[in-house]
Point group: C2
Chain length 314, copies 2
Protein backbone atom coordinates (compact mmCIF):
# COMPACT_ATOMS: atom_id res chain seq x y z
CA UNK A 1 0.00 0.00 0.00
CA UNK A 2 1.17 3.46 -0.82
CA UNK A 3 1.91 5.90 1.95
CA UNK A 4 0.73 9.49 1.89
CA UNK A 5 4.22 10.59 0.82
CA UNK A 6 4.01 8.37 -2.27
CA UNK A 7 0.68 9.93 -3.14
CA UNK A 8 1.94 13.50 -3.23
CA UNK A 9 3.50 13.64 -6.70
CA UNK A 10 0.86 11.61 -8.56
CA UNK A 11 -1.83 13.67 -6.82
CA UNK A 12 -0.31 16.95 -7.94
CA UNK A 13 -0.02 15.51 -11.46
CA UNK A 14 -3.73 14.80 -11.51
CA UNK A 15 -3.67 11.01 -11.07
CA UNK A 16 -7.23 9.92 -10.29
CA UNK A 17 -6.32 6.93 -8.15
CA UNK A 18 -3.99 9.03 -6.01
CA UNK A 19 -6.76 11.58 -5.55
CA UNK A 20 -9.28 8.88 -4.62
CA UNK A 21 -6.88 7.37 -2.10
CA UNK A 22 -6.06 10.78 -0.61
CA UNK A 23 -9.74 11.59 -0.12
CA UNK A 24 -10.27 8.24 1.61
CA UNK A 25 -7.47 9.09 4.03
CA UNK A 26 -9.14 12.41 4.85
CA UNK A 27 -12.56 10.82 5.11
CA UNK A 28 -11.22 8.24 7.57
CA UNK A 29 -9.59 11.00 9.57
CA UNK A 30 -6.19 9.40 8.95
CA UNK A 31 -3.32 11.68 10.05
CA UNK A 32 -1.59 10.93 6.73
CA UNK A 33 -4.55 12.51 4.96
CA UNK A 34 -4.22 15.68 6.96
CA UNK A 35 -0.46 15.68 6.30
CA UNK A 36 -1.15 15.45 2.59
CA UNK A 37 -3.58 18.38 2.65
CA UNK A 38 -0.92 20.34 4.53
CA UNK A 39 1.61 19.56 1.79
CA UNK A 40 -0.60 20.49 -1.13
CA UNK A 41 -2.34 23.45 0.44
CA UNK A 42 0.00 26.07 -1.08
CA UNK A 43 -0.98 24.75 -4.53
CA UNK A 44 -4.68 25.28 -3.95
CA UNK A 45 -6.98 28.21 -4.62
CA UNK A 46 -6.93 27.92 -8.39
CA UNK A 47 -10.05 25.85 -9.01
CA UNK A 48 -13.46 27.40 -9.53
CA UNK A 49 -15.50 25.88 -6.70
CA UNK A 50 -19.26 25.77 -7.25
CA UNK A 51 -21.76 24.47 -4.72
CA UNK A 52 -25.15 23.03 -5.69
CA UNK A 53 -27.95 22.60 -3.22
CA UNK A 54 -31.68 22.00 -3.35
CA UNK A 55 -34.31 19.46 -2.39
CA UNK A 56 -33.92 15.82 -3.42
CA UNK A 57 -35.46 14.86 -6.74
CA UNK A 58 -35.11 18.18 -8.55
CA UNK A 59 -32.40 16.83 -10.83
CA UNK A 60 -29.21 18.26 -9.34
CA UNK A 61 -27.11 15.30 -10.42
CA UNK A 62 -28.50 15.48 -13.95
CA UNK A 63 -27.69 19.18 -14.11
CA UNK A 64 -24.19 18.59 -12.77
CA UNK A 65 -23.70 15.78 -15.29
CA UNK A 66 -24.66 18.19 -18.08
CA UNK A 67 -22.35 20.88 -16.70
CA UNK A 68 -19.51 18.36 -16.61
CA UNK A 69 -20.09 17.60 -20.29
CA UNK A 70 -20.11 21.33 -20.99
CA UNK A 71 -16.85 21.85 -19.11
CA UNK A 72 -15.18 18.92 -20.91
CA UNK A 73 -16.17 20.40 -24.25
CA UNK A 74 -14.24 23.50 -23.18
CA UNK A 75 -11.32 21.23 -22.21
CA UNK A 76 -11.65 21.89 -18.50
CA UNK A 77 -10.87 19.21 -15.91
CA UNK A 78 -13.68 18.63 -13.44
CA UNK A 79 -14.18 17.04 -10.04
CA UNK A 80 -17.59 16.37 -8.50
CA UNK A 81 -18.09 15.75 -4.79
CA UNK A 82 -21.58 14.62 -3.82
CA UNK A 83 -22.37 14.79 -0.16
CA UNK A 84 -24.87 12.16 0.90
CA UNK A 85 -27.10 12.77 3.86
CA UNK A 86 -26.83 10.10 6.49
CA UNK A 87 -30.04 8.43 7.33
CA UNK A 88 -30.89 5.20 9.01
CA UNK A 89 -34.11 5.37 7.04
CA UNK A 90 -33.57 4.82 3.32
CA UNK A 91 -29.95 4.24 2.57
CA UNK A 92 -29.05 4.69 -1.03
CA UNK A 93 -32.28 6.33 -2.07
CA UNK A 94 -30.27 9.08 -3.68
CA UNK A 95 -27.68 6.92 -5.35
CA UNK A 96 -29.92 6.16 -8.31
CA UNK A 97 -29.60 9.80 -9.17
CA UNK A 98 -25.86 9.63 -9.10
CA UNK A 99 -25.76 6.91 -11.69
CA UNK A 100 -26.45 9.60 -14.26
CA UNK A 101 -22.88 10.71 -13.81
CA UNK A 102 -21.46 7.31 -14.80
CA UNK A 103 -21.00 8.25 -18.44
CA UNK A 104 -18.04 10.30 -17.28
CA UNK A 105 -16.40 7.61 -15.15
CA UNK A 106 -13.90 6.58 -17.83
CA UNK A 107 -12.89 10.12 -18.76
CA UNK A 108 -9.49 10.86 -17.15
CA UNK A 109 -10.45 14.55 -16.98
CA UNK A 110 -13.41 13.85 -14.72
CA UNK A 111 -13.27 12.73 -11.10
CA UNK A 112 -16.47 11.79 -9.29
CA UNK A 113 -16.79 10.97 -5.65
CA UNK A 114 -19.53 10.75 -3.13
CA UNK A 115 -19.06 11.14 0.58
CA UNK A 116 -21.47 10.06 3.27
CA UNK A 117 -22.42 12.18 6.19
CA UNK A 118 -21.29 10.49 9.33
CA UNK A 119 -22.97 11.83 12.39
CA UNK A 120 -22.41 15.50 12.85
CA UNK A 121 -22.70 17.95 10.00
CA UNK A 122 -19.64 19.73 11.33
CA UNK A 123 -17.53 16.65 10.69
CA UNK A 124 -18.85 16.31 7.18
CA UNK A 125 -18.32 19.95 6.38
CA UNK A 126 -14.73 19.53 7.55
CA UNK A 127 -14.12 16.50 5.33
CA UNK A 128 -15.81 18.29 2.42
CA UNK A 129 -13.36 21.17 2.53
CA UNK A 130 -10.36 18.83 2.77
CA UNK A 131 -11.58 16.78 -0.19
CA UNK A 132 -12.24 19.94 -2.20
CA UNK A 133 -8.69 21.14 -1.45
CA UNK A 134 -7.27 17.83 -2.67
CA UNK A 135 -9.32 18.10 -5.87
CA UNK A 136 -8.12 21.65 -6.36
CA UNK A 137 -4.48 20.63 -5.82
CA UNK A 138 -4.81 17.81 -8.33
CA UNK A 139 -5.31 20.41 -11.02
CA UNK A 140 -9.06 20.42 -11.52
CA UNK A 141 -10.38 23.58 -13.15
CA UNK A 142 -13.86 23.09 -11.76
CA UNK A 143 -14.84 21.55 -8.45
CA UNK A 144 -18.57 20.91 -8.09
CA UNK A 145 -19.90 20.27 -4.60
CA UNK A 146 -23.40 18.83 -4.29
CA UNK A 147 -25.52 18.58 -1.14
CA UNK A 148 -29.02 17.23 -0.89
CA UNK A 149 -31.28 19.10 1.39
CA UNK A 150 -33.61 21.93 1.98
CA UNK A 151 -32.21 23.71 4.99
CA UNK A 152 -29.61 26.13 6.16
CA UNK A 153 -27.33 23.27 7.24
CA UNK A 154 -26.91 22.18 3.64
CA UNK A 155 -26.12 25.70 2.53
CA UNK A 156 -23.47 25.84 5.27
CA UNK A 157 -21.74 22.75 3.92
CA UNK A 158 -21.29 24.24 0.49
CA UNK A 159 -20.22 27.55 1.91
CA UNK A 160 -16.73 26.57 0.85
CA UNK A 161 -17.84 27.35 -2.69
CA UNK A 162 -17.13 30.59 -4.53
CA UNK A 163 -20.56 30.41 -6.11
CA UNK A 164 -23.69 28.78 -4.67
CA UNK A 165 -26.38 27.48 -7.04
CA UNK A 166 -29.82 26.58 -5.68
CA UNK A 167 -31.64 24.07 -7.88
CA UNK A 168 -35.43 23.91 -7.67
CA UNK A 169 -38.24 22.55 -9.79
CA UNK A 170 -41.89 23.51 -10.20
CA UNK A 171 -43.48 22.28 -7.00
CA UNK A 172 -40.60 23.36 -4.74
CA UNK A 173 -43.01 25.34 -2.65
CA UNK A 174 -41.31 24.68 0.68
CA UNK A 175 -37.97 25.97 -0.55
CA UNK A 176 -39.52 29.16 -1.90
CA UNK A 177 -41.27 29.71 1.41
CA UNK A 178 -37.96 29.14 3.19
CA UNK A 179 -36.27 31.74 0.99
CA UNK A 180 -39.16 34.12 1.48
CA UNK A 181 -39.14 33.77 5.23
CA UNK A 182 -35.39 34.19 5.33
CA UNK A 183 -34.90 30.69 6.74
CA UNK A 184 -32.56 29.92 3.88
CA UNK A 185 -29.98 32.36 2.55
CA UNK A 186 -30.32 33.69 -0.97
CA UNK A 187 -27.93 31.82 -3.29
CA UNK A 188 -25.92 33.38 -6.12
CA UNK A 189 -27.79 31.64 -8.92
CA UNK A 190 -31.19 29.94 -8.97
CA UNK A 191 -31.93 27.19 -11.47
CA UNK A 192 -35.48 26.03 -12.14
CA UNK A 193 -35.02 22.56 -13.58
CA UNK A 194 -37.71 20.43 -15.27
CA UNK A 195 -38.88 23.67 -16.81
CA UNK A 196 -41.19 21.89 -19.24
CA UNK A 197 -43.69 21.73 -16.36
CA UNK A 198 -46.79 23.91 -16.87
CA UNK A 199 -46.26 25.64 -13.49
CA UNK A 200 -42.76 26.87 -14.36
CA UNK A 201 -43.80 30.44 -15.13
CA UNK A 202 -45.73 30.75 -11.87
CA UNK A 203 -42.70 29.42 -10.03
CA UNK A 204 -40.29 31.85 -11.70
CA UNK A 205 -42.62 34.74 -10.86
CA UNK A 206 -42.75 33.62 -7.24
CA UNK A 207 -38.95 33.47 -7.05
CA UNK A 208 -38.68 36.93 -8.61
CA UNK A 209 -41.11 38.17 -5.99
CA UNK A 210 -38.96 36.74 -3.21
CA UNK A 211 -35.77 38.21 -4.66
CA UNK A 212 -37.37 41.63 -5.01
CA UNK A 213 -37.92 41.66 -1.23
CA UNK A 214 -34.23 41.09 -0.58
CA UNK A 215 -31.46 43.60 -0.09
CA UNK A 216 -30.28 45.34 -3.24
CA UNK A 217 -26.82 44.14 -4.16
CA UNK A 218 -24.60 44.67 -7.17
CA UNK A 219 -25.14 41.06 -8.20
CA UNK A 220 -28.64 40.39 -9.50
CA UNK A 221 -29.40 36.73 -8.80
CA UNK A 222 -30.25 35.19 -12.19
CA UNK A 223 -33.04 32.62 -12.51
CA UNK A 224 -32.14 30.12 -15.21
CA UNK A 225 -34.68 27.66 -16.60
CA UNK A 226 -33.29 24.29 -17.59
CA UNK A 227 -34.29 20.87 -18.75
CA UNK A 228 -31.03 19.33 -17.72
CA UNK A 229 -31.94 15.84 -18.95
CA UNK A 230 -32.09 17.25 -22.50
CA UNK A 231 -29.26 19.70 -22.00
CA UNK A 232 -31.52 22.76 -22.39
CA UNK A 233 -30.34 25.84 -20.56
CA UNK A 234 -27.19 24.18 -19.26
CA UNK A 235 -24.83 26.44 -21.23
CA UNK A 236 -26.59 29.43 -19.69
CA UNK A 237 -26.02 28.05 -16.18
CA UNK A 238 -22.31 27.65 -17.00
CA UNK A 239 -22.22 31.24 -18.29
CA UNK A 240 -23.90 32.61 -15.19
CA UNK A 241 -21.45 30.72 -12.97
CA UNK A 242 -18.53 32.25 -14.91
CA UNK A 243 -20.16 35.70 -14.77
CA UNK A 244 -20.68 35.43 -11.03
CA UNK A 245 -17.07 34.50 -10.56
CA UNK A 246 -15.91 37.45 -12.68
CA UNK A 247 -18.23 39.67 -10.70
CA UNK A 248 -16.91 38.70 -7.26
CA UNK A 249 -13.35 38.86 -8.55
CA UNK A 250 -13.82 42.35 -9.96
CA UNK A 251 -15.60 43.48 -6.83
CA UNK A 252 -12.92 41.99 -4.60
CA UNK A 253 -15.46 39.86 -2.75
CA UNK A 254 -13.93 36.55 -3.90
CA UNK A 255 -11.01 37.10 -1.53
CA UNK A 256 -13.36 38.36 1.17
CA UNK A 257 -15.60 35.31 0.81
CA UNK A 258 -12.66 32.96 0.92
CA UNK A 259 -11.22 34.69 3.94
CA UNK A 260 -14.53 34.45 5.77
CA UNK A 261 -15.03 30.84 4.72
CA UNK A 262 -11.52 29.84 5.73
CA UNK A 263 -11.89 31.55 9.07
CA UNK A 264 -15.17 29.75 9.75
CA UNK A 265 -13.52 26.56 8.65
CA UNK A 266 -10.60 26.89 11.04
CA UNK A 267 -13.01 27.54 13.89
CA UNK A 268 -15.26 24.66 12.86
CA UNK A 269 -12.29 22.31 12.62
CA UNK A 270 -11.05 23.32 16.05
CA UNK A 271 -14.52 23.10 17.60
CA UNK A 272 -15.18 19.76 15.88
CA UNK A 273 -12.02 18.27 17.29
CA UNK A 274 -12.89 19.47 20.74
CA UNK A 275 -16.32 17.96 20.43
CA UNK A 276 -14.89 14.66 19.27
CA UNK A 277 -12.53 14.58 22.23
CA UNK A 278 -15.48 15.17 24.52
CA UNK A 279 -17.52 12.44 22.88
CA UNK A 280 -14.69 9.97 23.21
CA UNK A 281 -14.29 10.77 26.86
CA UNK A 282 -18.01 10.24 27.37
CA UNK A 283 -17.94 6.84 25.71
CA UNK A 284 -14.96 5.55 27.59
CA UNK A 285 -15.27 7.14 30.96
CA UNK A 286 -17.54 5.65 33.62
CA UNK A 287 -17.47 8.83 35.71
CA UNK A 288 -18.85 10.80 32.77
CA UNK A 289 -21.69 8.32 32.57
CA UNK A 290 -22.33 8.96 36.26
CA UNK A 291 -22.46 12.67 35.53
CA UNK A 292 -25.11 11.99 32.89
CA UNK A 293 -27.05 9.78 35.27
CA UNK A 294 -27.25 12.73 37.65
CA UNK A 295 -28.62 14.87 34.81
CA UNK A 296 -31.21 12.27 33.87
CA UNK A 297 -32.33 11.91 37.48
CA UNK A 298 -32.67 15.73 37.63
CA UNK A 299 -30.02 16.13 40.31
CA UNK A 300 -27.61 18.08 38.13
CA UNK A 301 -28.70 20.46 35.37
CA UNK A 302 -27.26 20.11 31.83
CA UNK A 303 -25.31 23.37 31.88
CA UNK A 304 -23.59 22.51 35.17
CA UNK A 305 -22.81 19.05 33.82
CA UNK A 306 -21.29 20.65 30.73
CA UNK A 307 -19.18 22.95 32.89
CA UNK A 308 -17.97 19.99 34.96
CA UNK A 309 -17.08 18.11 31.79
CA UNK A 310 -15.05 21.05 30.53
CA UNK A 311 -13.22 21.49 33.83
CA UNK A 312 -12.21 17.86 33.86
CA UNK A 313 -11.30 17.40 30.26
CA UNK A 314 -9.32 20.44 29.35
CA UNK B 1 -34.54 45.34 39.11
CA UNK B 2 -35.08 41.91 40.49
CA UNK B 3 -32.16 39.54 40.87
CA UNK B 4 -32.31 35.92 39.83
CA UNK B 5 -32.79 34.93 43.47
CA UNK B 6 -35.92 37.08 43.69
CA UNK B 7 -37.28 35.37 40.59
CA UNK B 8 -37.08 31.84 41.94
CA UNK B 9 -40.24 31.72 44.05
CA UNK B 10 -42.56 33.60 41.67
CA UNK B 11 -41.22 31.50 38.80
CA UNK B 12 -42.01 28.24 40.59
CA UNK B 13 -45.45 29.62 41.40
CA UNK B 14 -46.14 30.21 37.73
CA UNK B 15 -45.78 34.01 37.61
CA UNK B 16 -45.62 35.01 33.93
CA UNK B 17 -43.42 38.06 34.40
CA UNK B 18 -40.89 36.08 36.42
CA UNK B 19 -40.81 33.43 33.69
CA UNK B 20 -40.36 36.08 30.97
CA UNK B 21 -37.53 37.69 32.89
CA UNK B 22 -35.84 34.34 33.55
CA UNK B 23 -35.92 33.43 29.86
CA UNK B 24 -34.38 36.79 28.98
CA UNK B 25 -31.53 36.08 31.38
CA UNK B 26 -30.90 32.73 29.71
CA UNK B 27 -31.22 34.22 26.24
CA UNK B 28 -28.65 36.87 27.09
CA UNK B 29 -26.34 34.22 28.46
CA UNK B 30 -26.45 35.89 31.86
CA UNK B 31 -24.86 33.73 34.60
CA UNK B 32 -27.88 34.47 36.81
CA UNK B 33 -30.05 32.77 34.20
CA UNK B 34 -27.94 29.65 34.33
CA UNK B 35 -28.00 29.76 38.12
CA UNK B 36 -31.77 29.91 38.01
CA UNK B 37 -32.04 26.89 35.72
CA UNK B 38 -29.72 25.04 38.09
CA UNK B 39 -32.04 25.87 40.99
CA UNK B 40 -35.25 24.83 39.30
CA UNK B 41 -33.91 21.82 37.43
CA UNK B 42 -34.98 19.25 40.07
CA UNK B 43 -38.56 20.50 39.62
CA UNK B 44 -38.58 19.87 35.87
CA UNK B 45 -39.53 16.84 33.80
CA UNK B 46 -43.25 17.07 34.46
CA UNK B 47 -44.41 19.02 31.41
CA UNK B 48 -45.41 17.35 28.18
CA UNK B 49 -42.98 18.85 25.67
CA UNK B 50 -44.13 18.84 22.03
CA UNK B 51 -42.05 20.11 19.12
CA UNK B 52 -43.58 21.41 15.90
CA UNK B 53 -41.58 21.81 12.72
CA UNK B 54 -42.31 22.29 9.05
CA UNK B 55 -41.84 24.78 6.24
CA UNK B 56 -42.91 28.39 6.70
CA UNK B 57 -46.44 29.24 5.66
CA UNK B 58 -48.09 25.89 6.38
CA UNK B 59 -49.94 27.28 9.38
CA UNK B 60 -47.94 25.97 12.34
CA UNK B 61 -48.77 28.97 14.50
CA UNK B 62 -52.45 28.68 13.68
CA UNK B 63 -52.39 25.01 14.61
CA UNK B 64 -50.53 25.74 17.83
CA UNK B 65 -53.02 28.50 18.64
CA UNK B 66 -55.86 26.02 18.20
CA UNK B 67 -54.07 23.43 20.34
CA UNK B 68 -53.59 26.04 23.05
CA UNK B 69 -57.34 26.69 23.04
CA UNK B 70 -57.94 22.95 23.24
CA UNK B 71 -55.56 22.58 26.19
CA UNK B 72 -57.14 25.52 28.02
CA UNK B 73 -60.57 23.95 27.63
CA UNK B 74 -59.11 20.95 29.46
CA UNK B 75 -57.75 23.33 32.11
CA UNK B 76 -54.13 22.72 31.21
CA UNK B 77 -51.51 25.49 31.50
CA UNK B 78 -49.54 26.03 28.33
CA UNK B 79 -46.29 27.67 27.24
CA UNK B 80 -45.33 28.25 23.62
CA UNK B 81 -41.76 28.92 22.52
CA UNK B 82 -41.40 29.97 18.88
CA UNK B 83 -37.89 29.85 17.53
CA UNK B 84 -37.31 32.43 14.83
CA UNK B 85 -34.75 31.81 12.19
CA UNK B 86 -32.17 34.54 11.98
CA UNK B 87 -31.91 36.15 8.63
CA UNK B 88 -30.52 39.41 7.48
CA UNK B 89 -32.95 39.08 4.61
CA UNK B 90 -36.55 39.55 5.70
CA UNK B 91 -36.77 40.24 9.39
CA UNK B 92 -40.17 39.74 10.82
CA UNK B 93 -41.64 37.95 7.83
CA UNK B 94 -42.82 35.25 10.17
CA UNK B 95 -44.11 37.44 12.92
CA UNK B 96 -47.40 38.07 11.16
CA UNK B 97 -48.09 34.44 11.70
CA UNK B 98 -47.44 34.74 15.38
CA UNK B 99 -50.05 37.39 15.83
CA UNK B 100 -52.63 34.62 15.62
CA UNK B 101 -51.55 33.64 19.10
CA UNK B 102 -52.40 37.03 20.57
CA UNK B 103 -55.90 36.08 21.61
CA UNK B 104 -54.23 34.11 24.41
CA UNK B 105 -51.95 36.92 25.62
CA UNK B 106 -54.21 37.97 28.47
CA UNK B 107 -54.88 34.45 29.71
CA UNK B 108 -52.74 33.84 32.83
CA UNK B 109 -52.64 30.13 31.96
CA UNK B 110 -50.88 30.78 28.66
CA UNK B 111 -47.31 31.97 28.20
CA UNK B 112 -46.06 32.85 24.71
CA UNK B 113 -42.53 33.74 23.80
CA UNK B 114 -40.48 33.91 20.67
CA UNK B 115 -36.74 33.60 20.59
CA UNK B 116 -34.49 34.66 17.75
CA UNK B 117 -31.69 32.58 16.42
CA UNK B 118 -28.47 34.40 17.00
CA UNK B 119 -25.70 33.07 14.88
CA UNK B 120 -25.03 29.42 15.49
CA UNK B 121 -27.82 26.89 15.69
CA UNK B 122 -25.96 25.24 18.55
CA UNK B 123 -26.37 28.36 20.65
CA UNK B 124 -30.04 28.59 19.89
CA UNK B 125 -30.66 24.95 20.64
CA UNK B 126 -28.96 25.50 23.99
CA UNK B 127 -31.13 28.50 24.84
CA UNK B 128 -34.22 26.61 23.69
CA UNK B 129 -33.65 23.82 26.17
CA UNK B 130 -33.00 26.23 29.01
CA UNK B 131 -36.16 28.19 28.23
CA UNK B 132 -38.17 24.97 27.99
CA UNK B 133 -36.83 23.90 31.40
CA UNK B 134 -37.89 27.22 32.91
CA UNK B 135 -41.37 26.84 31.40
CA UNK B 136 -41.57 23.32 32.76
CA UNK B 137 -40.49 24.47 36.24
CA UNK B 138 -43.09 27.23 36.24
CA UNK B 139 -45.77 24.55 36.25
CA UNK B 140 -46.87 24.43 32.62
CA UNK B 141 -48.60 21.19 31.67
CA UNK B 142 -47.79 21.60 28.01
CA UNK B 143 -44.71 23.17 26.46
CA UNK B 144 -44.96 23.68 22.70
CA UNK B 145 -41.74 24.36 20.82
CA UNK B 146 -42.02 25.69 17.28
CA UNK B 147 -39.26 25.95 14.70
CA UNK B 148 -39.61 27.19 11.17
CA UNK B 149 -37.64 25.31 8.62
CA UNK B 150 -37.35 22.42 6.31
CA UNK B 151 -34.09 20.77 7.27
CA UNK B 152 -32.48 18.44 9.71
CA UNK B 153 -31.13 21.38 11.72
CA UNK B 154 -34.65 22.42 12.65
CA UNK B 155 -35.54 18.90 13.70
CA UNK B 156 -32.42 18.88 15.90
CA UNK B 157 -33.58 22.00 17.72
CA UNK B 158 -36.85 20.45 18.75
CA UNK B 159 -35.19 17.20 19.67
CA UNK B 160 -35.72 18.27 23.27
CA UNK B 161 -39.35 17.40 22.76
CA UNK B 162 -40.98 14.16 23.85
CA UNK B 163 -43.09 14.19 20.70
CA UNK B 164 -42.20 15.74 17.34
CA UNK B 165 -44.99 16.91 15.02
CA UNK B 166 -44.20 17.72 11.38
CA UNK B 167 -46.73 20.13 9.86
CA UNK B 168 -47.11 20.17 6.08
CA UNK B 169 -49.68 21.40 3.60
CA UNK B 170 -50.62 20.31 0.11
CA UNK B 171 -47.73 21.56 -2.01
CA UNK B 172 -45.04 20.63 0.51
CA UNK B 173 -43.27 18.62 -2.17
CA UNK B 174 -39.74 19.41 -1.00
CA UNK B 175 -40.40 18.20 2.52
CA UNK B 176 -41.88 14.94 1.28
CA UNK B 177 -38.87 14.42 -0.96
CA UNK B 178 -36.62 15.12 2.03
CA UNK B 179 -38.47 12.52 4.11
CA UNK B 180 -38.37 10.07 1.23
CA UNK B 181 -34.67 10.50 0.67
CA UNK B 182 -33.97 10.20 4.37
CA UNK B 183 -32.61 13.75 4.55
CA UNK B 184 -35.09 14.51 7.29
CA UNK B 185 -35.95 12.13 10.09
CA UNK B 186 -39.44 10.71 10.35
CA UNK B 187 -41.41 12.61 13.03
CA UNK B 188 -43.86 11.05 15.50
CA UNK B 189 -46.96 12.67 14.03
CA UNK B 190 -47.57 14.27 10.64
CA UNK B 191 -50.23 16.94 10.21
CA UNK B 192 -51.48 17.97 6.80
CA UNK B 193 -52.92 21.41 7.37
CA UNK B 194 -55.05 23.43 4.92
CA UNK B 195 -56.67 20.11 4.11
CA UNK B 196 -59.48 21.78 2.14
CA UNK B 197 -57.02 21.92 -0.76
CA UNK B 198 -57.93 19.62 -3.68
CA UNK B 199 -54.49 17.99 -3.65
CA UNK B 200 -54.75 16.84 -0.02
CA UNK B 201 -55.59 13.23 -0.84
CA UNK B 202 -52.65 12.94 -3.23
CA UNK B 203 -50.42 14.39 -0.57
CA UNK B 204 -51.62 12.01 2.13
CA UNK B 205 -51.07 9.07 -0.24
CA UNK B 206 -47.54 10.27 -0.94
CA UNK B 207 -46.78 10.54 2.77
CA UNK B 208 -48.18 7.06 3.37
CA UNK B 209 -45.93 5.79 0.60
CA UNK B 210 -42.89 7.35 2.26
CA UNK B 211 -43.80 5.95 5.67
CA UNK B 212 -44.30 2.47 4.24
CA UNK B 213 -40.65 2.50 3.11
CA UNK B 214 -39.46 3.21 6.63
CA UNK B 215 -38.49 0.82 9.37
CA UNK B 216 -41.37 -0.97 11.07
CA UNK B 217 -41.78 0.32 14.58
CA UNK B 218 -44.39 -0.20 17.28
CA UNK B 219 -45.58 3.35 16.80
CA UNK B 220 -47.45 3.88 13.53
CA UNK B 221 -46.97 7.53 12.56
CA UNK B 222 -50.47 8.98 12.22
CA UNK B 223 -51.28 11.45 9.43
CA UNK B 224 -53.89 13.92 10.68
CA UNK B 225 -55.72 16.27 8.32
CA UNK B 226 -56.56 19.66 9.77
CA UNK B 227 -57.96 23.02 8.87
CA UNK B 228 -56.48 24.68 11.89
CA UNK B 229 -57.93 28.11 11.08
CA UNK B 230 -61.42 26.62 11.53
CA UNK B 231 -60.39 24.26 14.31
CA UNK B 232 -61.07 21.15 12.22
CA UNK B 233 -58.98 18.13 13.17
CA UNK B 234 -57.28 19.94 16.05
CA UNK B 235 -58.78 17.71 18.74
CA UNK B 236 -57.47 14.70 16.84
CA UNK B 237 -53.95 16.16 16.82
CA UNK B 238 -54.19 16.66 20.59
CA UNK B 239 -55.36 13.05 20.99
CA UNK B 240 -52.52 11.70 18.89
CA UNK B 241 -50.00 13.70 20.91
CA UNK B 242 -51.42 12.23 24.13
CA UNK B 243 -51.44 8.74 22.60
CA UNK B 244 -47.83 9.08 21.51
CA UNK B 245 -46.84 10.13 24.98
CA UNK B 246 -48.67 7.18 26.52
CA UNK B 247 -47.02 4.91 23.99
CA UNK B 248 -43.45 6.00 24.74
CA UNK B 249 -44.15 5.92 28.45
CA UNK B 250 -45.53 2.38 28.28
CA UNK B 251 -42.69 1.28 26.07
CA UNK B 252 -40.11 2.89 28.31
CA UNK B 253 -38.74 4.98 25.47
CA UNK B 254 -39.70 8.31 27.05
CA UNK B 255 -36.90 7.89 29.56
CA UNK B 256 -34.60 6.60 26.86
CA UNK B 257 -35.37 9.59 24.64
CA UNK B 258 -34.85 12.01 27.45
CA UNK B 259 -31.60 10.38 28.43
CA UNK B 260 -30.30 10.56 24.86
CA UNK B 261 -31.51 14.14 24.43
CA UNK B 262 -29.98 15.25 27.71
CA UNK B 263 -26.69 13.58 26.85
CA UNK B 264 -26.60 15.30 23.46
CA UNK B 265 -27.49 18.51 25.18
CA UNK B 266 -24.66 18.31 27.69
CA UNK B 267 -22.21 17.63 24.87
CA UNK B 268 -23.64 20.43 22.74
CA UNK B 269 -23.46 22.86 25.65
CA UNK B 270 -19.86 21.94 26.36
CA UNK B 271 -18.87 22.08 22.69
CA UNK B 272 -20.75 25.37 22.21
CA UNK B 273 -18.89 26.97 25.09
CA UNK B 274 -15.60 25.80 23.74
CA UNK B 275 -16.47 27.24 20.35
CA UNK B 276 -17.48 30.54 21.88
CA UNK B 277 -14.19 30.73 23.77
CA UNK B 278 -12.37 30.13 20.52
CA UNK B 279 -14.37 32.78 18.69
CA UNK B 280 -13.69 35.30 21.41
CA UNK B 281 -10.00 34.59 21.27
CA UNK B 282 -10.09 35.07 17.49
CA UNK B 283 -11.80 38.42 17.76
CA UNK B 284 -9.55 39.81 20.40
CA UNK B 285 -6.21 38.32 19.62
CA UNK B 286 -3.98 39.83 16.94
CA UNK B 287 -1.83 36.72 16.72
CA UNK B 288 -4.88 34.64 15.85
CA UNK B 289 -5.61 37.06 13.04
CA UNK B 290 -2.05 36.49 11.83
CA UNK B 291 -2.68 32.76 11.88
CA UNK B 292 -5.73 33.33 9.68
CA UNK B 293 -3.75 35.57 7.35
CA UNK B 294 -1.37 32.68 6.82
CA UNK B 295 -4.31 30.43 5.96
CA UNK B 296 -5.73 32.96 3.52
CA UNK B 297 -2.35 33.39 1.82
CA UNK B 298 -2.14 29.57 1.54
CA UNK B 299 0.94 29.29 3.73
CA UNK B 300 -0.78 27.32 6.49
CA UNK B 301 -3.61 24.85 5.91
CA UNK B 302 -6.87 25.14 7.86
CA UNK B 303 -6.41 21.91 9.84
CA UNK B 304 -2.93 22.91 11.00
CA UNK B 305 -4.23 26.34 11.93
CA UNK B 306 -7.00 24.69 13.93
CA UNK B 307 -4.47 22.47 15.70
CA UNK B 308 -2.33 25.52 16.53
CA UNK B 309 -5.37 27.31 17.90
CA UNK B 310 -6.21 24.36 20.12
CA UNK B 311 -2.66 24.05 21.43
CA UNK B 312 -2.58 27.69 22.38
CA UNK B 313 -6.02 28.11 23.80
CA UNK B 314 -6.50 25.12 25.98
Amino acid sequence: MKTAGDLLQPLLQGDKRALARAISLVENDDPEGWALVREVYPKTGRAQVVGFTGPPGVGKSTLIGALVKNARAADRDVAVLSIDPSSPFTHGALLGDRIRLTEHFLDPGVFIRSMASRGSLGGLSEATLQAALLMDASGKDDVFLETVGVGQAEVDIIDHADTVVLVLMPGSGDSIQALKAGVMEIPDIIVVNKADHPLTDTMVREIRGVLSLGPKTDWRVPIVQTEAARGDGVAEVAEKIAEHREHIKAEGTLDERRRRNLMNEVLALAAGRLRRRLEESVREDASVQELLDEVVSRKLDPASAAAKLLEREL
